[in-house]
């Protein structure tokens, strides 16, 4: 299994109720698969499925990206700084 650290920000943190999670993923899991897993576990995330952004090791990631070993994954809504 591949242990990944997941960081959550803004609304997503509120919906999950945690700033960070650690999860074991099967090798070869994609960002899309991890999103499905999180939404299944935290159903409030369903309503932001279409707008969730993902970053892998601090770079924006595609849904189909395979999650590397020991990755730092972050999920968050579209940014609104400034």
């Amino acid at each position: 299994m591949n242990r990944v650290k997941i960081l959550l920000f803004a609304t997503l943190r509120d919906y999950v109720g945690a700033r960070a999670l650690e999860l074991d993923l099967p090798p070869g899991a994609t960002i899309a698969a991890l999103e499905d897993l999180l939404i299944a576990r935290y159903p409030r995330l369903e309503k932001v499925r279409g707008s969730m952004m993902a970053a892998v090791n601090r770079q924006y990631a595609a849904d189909e990206q395979i999650i590397p070993e020991n990755a730092e994954i972050a999920f968050f809504p579209p940014v609104s700084g400034g």
């Binding site: 803004a10 990206q65 579209p78 940014v79 609104s80 700084g81």
Partner: protein, 155 residues
């Protein structure tokens, strides 16, 4: 890095922003002009949904935010090679009405070689790709603000 000697400051901070000292740090002997953009906590908004705001609560994903700020600075240098110093700073935490929230500052030898456009580009890109979020707190409650831009993978 093609520009190892040109000052680039990127920073996520909880401290009050100090524009004068930031400018001094990105001023070279060849600098003759600077342009600074600041965001400010707006208490009264009339555009879109008119509303009052008491304060903003900013949150960042600091290591990625600073990486993306550095990327914005590199994009500025590619587009406007005459830019000398760049500072991109985002304040986070609880910010009251009237407080500066962000500073994008660019210096150059002269004012007509893109320094205004560079600062404008900097704030536009910060609002697209730098992972920072704000929550508006007002008399009617609180609400996270969501941007509109979806960066491409690797952007």
């Amino acid at each position: 890095m093609q520009t190892p000697n040109l000052p680039t400051i990127v920073l996520i901070t909880e401290e009050t922003l100090d524009i004068d000292s930031l400018l001094a740090r990105i001023t070279l002997p060849s600098t003759g002009a600077s342009v600074v953009f600041t965001g400010v906590v707006r208490g009264v908004t009339s555009r879109g949904r008119p509303r009052q705001t008491t304060r903003l609560e900013y949150e960042a994903y600091p290591p990625m935010a600073e990486e993306k700020m550095r990327q914005v600075a590199e994009e500025i240098r590619r587009k406007w090679p005459s830019v000398e110093g760049i500072a991109i700073v985002q304040r986070v935490g609880n910010l009251e009405v009237g407080a500066p929230t962000t500073v994008i500052a660019c210096t150059a030898a002269h004012r007509d070689t893109g320094v205004f456009e560079a600062a404008r580009y900097g704030i536009d890109r910060l609002k697209e790709i730098v992972p920072v979020w704000k929550k508006e707190i007002g008399p009617g409650g609180e609400e996270w603000v969501e941007g509109l831009y979806h960066p491409e993978p690797g952007e």
